[in-house]
Symmetry: C2
Subunit: 115 residues, 2 copies
Amino acid sequence: MAGISSDVIRGYNDIMILYILKKEPSYGYEISKTIRQMTQDKYMIKETTLYSAFTRMEKNGYIESYVCEPDESGSGKKRTYYRITEYGRAYYEEKCEEWILTKEVVEHFIQKGEE
Amino acid sequence: MAGISSDVIRGYNDIMILYILKKEPSYGYEISKTIRQMTQDKYMIKETTLYSAFTRMEKNGYIESYVCEPDESGSGKKRTYYRITEYGRAYYEEKCEEWILTKEVVEHFIQKGEE
DNA sequence: TGTCGTACTATGTCTGTCGTAGTAAATATA
DNA sequence: TATATTTACTACGACAGACATAGTACGACA
């Protein structure tokens, strides 16, 4: 067993992405690196998971995309940036509250080492 | 938004069931009630989720089933009881450690009220 | 007799995740 | 200059846990 299974995390990739986008707009590759850094390599979001999350969240109105041309940004390739919407912020808040509750519930069923 | 979405809990129904079975063998309906009580009605496992978890976990060797005849138990209908296996205990321990890690990771992306 | 609670089984759908693969430009390295 | 690596994606399909819906059947109680 190495690290965190995907089933546990399911539903929380969105929150990680939204948390990052709350600070400033960003794009796939950068978000992926940010998540890695923030968790000290404990969690690495899969590329396909990330990009399918973008599609889903844009469809749901949580984020908006815009293309940044390389000449405008001054470096690298053309990227698709995402920014969080007001609706996305509200969704994030909701999910945070849900997390508090979830944690509380799950913790009833957890035993830490003590036999 | 009412309570906890299934996606968050996904993967943790098993842990709840195993936690209960660690104390003593039990059966579907009772486990369902125990979970409700333990969480003060904050979480109610769906019937189909519960029974499909049984099937899966027995196949994986985490639990074993045995039928308890009504005359033997002294009351009610015939029930299928489940008991946890050694392998199930080990799996439970693993999952608990995973939870600690998961919590740590997710919490980096949670903001509680403070704007 | 009918309703409610108990104790399930069967079947099929949904959706987030992830494996695999491929594309292509920019940058680093030899 | 040629090649490898990093960056930045897209496309497609499969998997599995959760869950909706439906049905069965027995027992208790009024």
